[in-house]
């Protein structure tokens, strides 16, 4: 894909985040979409492309009153929105549509109008994972952690530091759900969920949503806000069954998606000013740093424990507070994208000074899928 040919010209989250008991899931989509359309200074009738996940594009298009000429219902978990950005950029380049709206919302906490998730007993997951007591992401996502720790000599304290660093970023963010400072000791003494992970190493459960609007870069300069250009993109999938990953020492989906985006962007790791790595659970930033090639996996734990990703560190990571402390409605990728856009616009609550390149890396399912977007504010 051509560098900087497409830009984000509208970006917004739902008006409220956290617990939103007065809004159904589809209305959360609409709330985010209307906020993003206002942010871009557009009318609904300007939108000719629509992408969403979990909810279908027809559901959202009809509810908003949009008649699209391009739709994308890619739904591969929390990184679906990274894939939507990639697909939308390609579609705009190909002339299939001009202005794409990407929406996410989930009534993850209040569960109003939320579609049921179920695993049929004759699916592969239903036959070869469900009978052994997996029950929701906390019982599945951390399954690789002990192997990863043993292979690379990572300690419990180092992984606990992920939660501490993210909380430090959250403290700077008025919209973050959890702001009170925590220590490594607090993390390691918090309630056990699925050993080795405790509650402070698991993401929040909240309500909310977000939306993005993309258009071609040559039109982007006419919009009210600073355009944020798509410099590089990547995507991949591996397996819906965490037990069937090729290895627990790495994520194959990460290793395809991340480097693809870096190559497309033509950037080196030292060029990255700001980084988002979807942190549904505390081990994901370690996998991400290693698989995206920032450092060998052996060094990821020490790198975070040494404070390199916390405020003032040399690689600002998850500057909104992440899924661990900012918010997590179920598919957090949209919120990671929103923070990258804020950082590139220069309006983030914890703004990284002079940041010019932001890498936003998402996961879907339990390492089942991945999407990576490299943003820049320089054309």
């Amino acid at each position: 894909m051509r560098k900087n040919a497409v830009a984000v010209v509208g970006a917004a989250e739902t008006t409220e985040l956290g617990v939103i008991p007065n809004m159904s899931q589809i209305q959360l989509h609409a709330d985010a979409a209307l906020n993003a359309i206002a942010d871009a200074g557009l009318k609904l009738s300007d939108i000719d492309g629509i992408a969403t996940a979990v909810e279908t594009p027809q559901q959202i298009a009809h509810y908003l009153g949009i008649t699209p000429t391009w739709v994308d219902g890619t739904s591969v978990g929390g990184c679906s929105f990274m894939l939507h950005v990639r697909h939308a950029a390609a579609a705009i380049e190909a002339g299939l549509c001009k202005t794409v709206l990407i929406t996410h919302a989930e009534s993850g906490k209040s569960m109003i109008g939320k579609l049921p998730r179920s695993t049929p007993p004759d699916s592969l997951n239903g036959q070869f994972e469900s009978p052994f007591g997996v029950y929701g992401p906390p019982s599945m996502f951390p399954i690789p952690v002990l192997r990863y720790m043993k292979t690379y000599g990572i300690t419990h304290e180092q992984i606990a530091m992920v939660a501490v660093a993210h909380r430090e970023w959250a403290a700077k963010n008025p919209r973050a759900t959890m702001k009170a400072p925590i220590t490594v000791e607090d993390v390691l003494n918090s309630r056990m969920i699925a050993y080795p992970f405790r509650i402070l190493q698991c993401c929040l459960v909240t309500d909310g949503g977000g939306a993005l609007i993309l258009t071609s870069a040559d039109r982007a300069k006419d919009f009210p806000n600073k355009p944020v250009y798509i410099l590089g993109t990547g995507e991949s999938v591996e397996t819906p069954m965490v037990s069937q990953m090729e290895t627990f020492n790495s994520s194959r989906a990460f290793k395809v998606s991340g480097p693809t985006a870096f190559r497309e962007a033509g950037i080196a790791h030292k060029d990255v000013d700001h980084l988002m790595i979807y942190d549904a659970f505390a081990h994901l930033p370690l996998f991400g740093l290693g698989d995206l090639g920032f450092m060998p996996h052996e060094e990821t734990g020490k790198f975070i424990a040494d404070g390199n990703t916390r405020p003032g560190g040399k690689l600002p990571l998850n500057t909104n507070g992440g899924g661990l402390s900012y918010m997590h409605s179920g598919m957090y990728g949209m919120y990671a994208l929103q923070e990258s856009v804020r950082q590139m616009r220069g309006i983030a609550p914890a703004q990284v000074k002079d940041a010019k390149i932001s890498v936003c890396h998402g996961v879907g399912g339990m390492f089942a899928a991945s999407g990576t977007i490299v943003f820049t504010n320089e054309k």
Binding site: T119, P120, P121, D122, L124, G126, Q127, F128, E129, S130, P131, F132, G133, V134, Y135, G136, P138, S139, M140, P142, I143, P144, V145, L146, R147, K150, R191, M192, I193, A194, Y195, P196, F197, M241, V242, S243, Q244, F248
Partner: protein
């Protein structure tokens, strides 16, 4: 009222041989006749070379503990926490999810790479699950 039961697998045409195997006290895997790849979960072709010529064989039932969590909450129906959800690396190569029985469900007792052997737990007349226990000797 009966206690809620654990999730029960429902075999498909492609997986029936596996579940017939556990009922007969065998852990059955598949091997590609063309490239010798051993794979899991079951399917009637080789995911490595796409050959449809594959054979079912009885695996040794031996393996090692690759990784696990000890789930505390929320517990799945039919399980009393804390209980370990493990991934076993079979001696033949493939990995599968299972539970570890006859072993305390603690980090001290559950050592990565410990040797395991299959044990079969009958759920009903149709389904027997492959579980694993620490290998003897």
């Amino acid at each position: 009222m009966a206690e809620p039961a654990r999730a029960k697998p429902k075999p498909t045409p492609e997986t029936q041989h596996f579940w017939d195997g556990t009922q007969a006290g065998e852990l059955r895997l598949q091997r590609c006749d063309a490239c010798a790849n051993v794979y899991f979960p079951p399917r009637p072709f080789c995911p490595s070379c796409a050959s449809r010529k594959v054979s079912v064989f009885k695996a040794s039932g031996k393996g090692t503990l690759y990784s696990y969590v000890i789930n505390h909450r929320p517990a799945a129906p039919g399980f009393t926490p804390p209980y370990a959800i493990a991934v076993v690396e079979l001696d033949e190569g493939p990995r599968m999810m299972s539970n570890i029985i006859d072993c305390p469900q603690t980090p001290e007792a559950l050592e990565l790479d410990m040797k395991l052997e299959v044990a079969f737990e009958k759920l009903d007349d149709k389904i027997t699950l492959p579980l694993f226990r620490p290998a003897k000797g």
